[in-house]
């Protein structure tokens, strides 16, 4: 409660409001401090008071053999994950709790979520309301069931103050191409910082996985906790709705050259041989797993390439039932749950580049695990994994 009150004080909130659920990121081990904190909570007899899901941890509890690294660190990583379950949280261990039918808050519902991509998805795509709850604050909210009534919990702060309009030189085909969305997210994060922006100029009704890619990248290159995509996100059926019927403070264009430059900057090592392909950051949805299988179309991953997909344990269980997981494994794909391939040593050490379709993975992996990255679309990644070499298709990005 002290943490929540201190947060209320720091933000100037006059009162606390009740929340209906929480998503807790603190279960990822960052060192002894992670354990010291959760031990202190358990010693004090704490329990969560609202339905609470858990974010990824530092180990794949279902497939522990996939995570290499120091056994003592792994044991501490496992202990933190288990300690949060002892607090009463559900052991979902996923960064995409919004993919679980029973953990999706409804439009307008007040919650407290951690994990930057989940925060952006919750506000933007579900229309549920959360601020950026960092580690410690997320579990404090889950225990007390209350948060300061401030920021994105209030309607006024959800209004777009910046309009980002795709410029005329962005090709029509690119506006509906999977390759665009992670790149667009990187640009959004840079332009918006922590502001709420509305993106205009995309075809309406964009699917959730594309909106997920925008939010994850935008929360990496910036502090984006909420964005609108006009015609696709629930608080922006029209631009006027996103602006809450007032004139925009600023309207800026996103031109093709900026998108192309952002795409290139995500690749740190264009010329390296292909060592691995990493997909599923944030955790792959069932739909994405099925699309990987469809793109593979019975072909196998090249023997010199490691192809790793991160997903949630509940999604994997659904994919097992449908036979999708088996099709992927038969093709040589490794399926990782409960963690992510840029957090812990999972990828085999190899002298070459890792290809990814995730703007967030491309952004963090060089610093976190020293990876040399090639960023591309899902289709390019799968084609490359099969061929054993980097295949990129620049045609959607306009004439060279």
């Amino acid at each position: 409660m002290q943490i929540i009150l201190r947060a209320a004080e720091a933000t100037g909130a006059g009162r606390l409001i009740d929340i209906s659920g929480a998503h807790v990121d603190s279960c990822l081990y960052h060192g002894r401090a992670s354990l010291d904190f959760v031990d202190r909570l358990l010693d004090g007899g704490a329990r969560v008071s609202v339905p609470t899901t858990l974010n990824v941890g530092a180990l794949d509890l279902l497939h522990p053999e996939l995570v290499r690294g120091d056994p003592e660190t792994n044991a501490r990583g496992r202990r933190v994950m288990e300690r949060y379950r002892e607090l009463g949280a559900r052991p979902t261990y996923t960064c995409a709790p919004y993919q679980l039918a029973d953990s999706r808050p409804a439009l307008g519902q007040q919650v407290a979520w951690g994990e930057s991509n989940a925060i952006a998805f919750c506000n933007s795509v579900l229309g549920a309301r959360t601020n950026r709850y960092g580690d410690f604050a997320d579990i404090a909210a889950a225990i007390t069931g209350r948060v300061p009534d401030t920021g994105l919990h209030r309607t006024a702060a959800r209004r777009a103050t910046l309009v980002l309009q795709l410029a005329d030189d962005v090709p029509e085909a690119l506006r509906d191409d999977d390759a665009l969305f992670g790149v667009l997210g990187i640009v959004l994060g840079r332009r918006a910082g922590s502001a709420v922006a509305a993106i205009a100029g995309l075809p309406p009704g964009q699917p959730e996985d594309r909106l997920k890619a925008i939010g994850a990248a935008a929360a990496s290159s910036g502090s984006v906790a909420m964005f609108h995509v006009v015609g696709s996100t629930p608080e922006a059926p029209t631009l006027d709705d996103a602006l809450q019927h007032r004139p925009a403070e600023a309207t800026e264009e996103i031109r093709l050259a900026e998108l192309r430059a952002a795409r290139e900057a995500l690749t740190t090592d264009a010329g390296a041989p292909l060592a691995a392909v990493s997909l599923g950051t944030p955790h792959a949805s069932l739909d994405e797993l099925e699309r990987y299988a469809a793109l593979l179309d019975g072909r196998s991953i090249h023997p010199d390439v490691e192809c790793l997909v991160s997903t949630g344990r509940d999604i994997l269980s659904a994919a097992d039932e449908r036979g999708t997981a088996r099709r992927l494994r038969d093709a040589g794909v490794e399926l990782l749950t409960d963690t992510c391939s840029y957090l812990v040593p999972v990828l085999r050490p190899a002298d070459g580049a890792v290809m990814t379709d995730s703007g967030k993975w491309a952004y963090y992996a060089p610093g976190n695990i020293g990876a040399r990255v090639v960023f591309a679309s899902m289709a390019e990644c799968i084609a490359s994994a099969v061929a054993g070499r980097v295949i990129r298709d620049d045609s959607a990005w306009g004439p060279a």
Partner: protein, 122 residues
């Protein structure tokens, strides 16, 4: 304490190695700088919600910045600092300053922080 002005916002998670205090974000222009013991000036914080844990771990390990001087409030850093103080008894002030006050703090300047959170050139 000596000021370190960051030219771009930094996410501590994925941006600072708590074992050493080194800036490790490959996309940050000051990669390789060391944050330990510095008064870190940022116009805003950025990125991951894990930054609170990274700050607490850095405080435990003795590699944390001496203070954060920010252009806008950041709850993630504030909570990380509060928890670290509770666990380890060491305080990292997280202070919000006006843009003109931030601009008056050049890289490398010596500053001290008063008990009321005011920042003074030494």
């Amino acid at each position: 304490m000596r000021v370190l002005v960051l030219d771009e916002p930094l996410s501590l998670w994925g941006g600072m190695d708590p074992a050493t205090g080194e800036l490790i974000d490959a996309h940050h222009p000051q990669r390789g700088a060391n944050l330990a013991g510095r008064a870190v000036v940022m116009r805003s914080a950025r990125g991951s919600s894990s930054s609170a844990s990274v700050l607490a771990e850095a405080v435990r390990a003795g590699t944390a910045p001496a203070a954060f001087l920010l252009g806008e409030p950041d709850l993630i850093l504030a909570v990380g600092a509060a928890v670290a103080e509770e666990l380890y008894g060491r305080m990292v002030p997280v202070i919000v300053l006006r843009a003109d006050e931030l601009a008056a703090l050049p890289d490398g300047a010596e500053v001290r922080i008063g008990p009321d959170g005011s920042v003074h050139r030494a």
